[in-house]
Point group: C2
């Protein structure tokens, strides 16, 4: 393993570590527990889980790994705030979507070379990317890794004492 | 900028972005606001801030950038739980420590080459590193980046509606 391969593999590992934490936290909750707010008047656990699925689904086109699988999640979990949609998918369906989206991402991530990671993501123009080469695929992976950690930190407050 | 330099620079940028978020959140709080719990019965904002300073201070030896600057923070913010130490540093002192520790880290991080990032961190043996080359400096930076995001997510619940 070359130094640059080790650096990239460390980033992919950090992503997976955070996904594992989220999976352990959310996938073990009952339907009733998923309705708990992370703090009084704030988002419910079910919203955070669905939100992570929707954000990860949107990573597929951003990383140029293909079209979104589940844009229908956005109304309940991304563009809309918690409780703006009354009917949410049951826990078993959220788990299936979570595994499907992260599984498809994983296949794509695993195949990227160091040069692939340094290529631009799909939401930046050639012109803007020339001015800022840090608007690359790796920046997407890292910002979404922080995003998982941010919401797992919140979810942990409701899920169990830590 | 080579692809491997862009990948490393993206990781350093992700670290700094999360530090900036934490700085905006914590450094703007009054002494009184710092005593707010992030959720009923959970850590206070002042504890999370001090905790991040202590954890970042401990990154200096982990990244082989020198000895710790402020091990005296551990009793209140790392080894001890919130409220285990009655007398905490005032907000202005926490801000000074936060800037000092992150500033020293920043000088070190900026000088690392791709090969430096792929070297082992100080808490792993040569033998264990040979078996797992992902126990490198980059893994420390990425795990501490997630750690900041995790606690900023919690702090955000108490600091203001988001």
């Amino acid at each position: 393993m070359t130094p640059e391969q080790a650096v990239v593999a460390s980033a992919v590992q950090a992503w997976r570590t955070n996904l594992d934490r989220a999976d352990k936290l959310f996938a073990g909750l009952t339907e009733q527990e998923l309705l708990t707010e992370v703090a009084p008047g704030r988002n419910r656990l079910v919203y955070l889980w669905g939100h992570l699925i929707a954000v990860h689904d949107a990573m597929l086109p951003l990383l140029r790994l293909g079209p979104r699988l589940h844009p229908e999640l956005d109304a309940a979990f991304l563009t809309g705030a918690d409780k703006s949609v009354a009917e949410l998918p049951p826990a078993a369906e959220l788990k299936r979507l979570w595994d499907e989206v992260n599984g498809k991402l994983s296949v794509g991530l695993t195949a990227f070379t160091v040069s692939d990671w340094a290529e631009k993501h799909s939401a930046v123009s050639d012109h803007d990317f020339a001015a800022n080469p840090l608007r690359n695929r790796m920046a997407i992976l890292l910002s979404r890794t922080s995003h998982v950690a941010y919401h797992v930190g919140q979810a942990q407050l409701a899920a169990k004492p830590s």
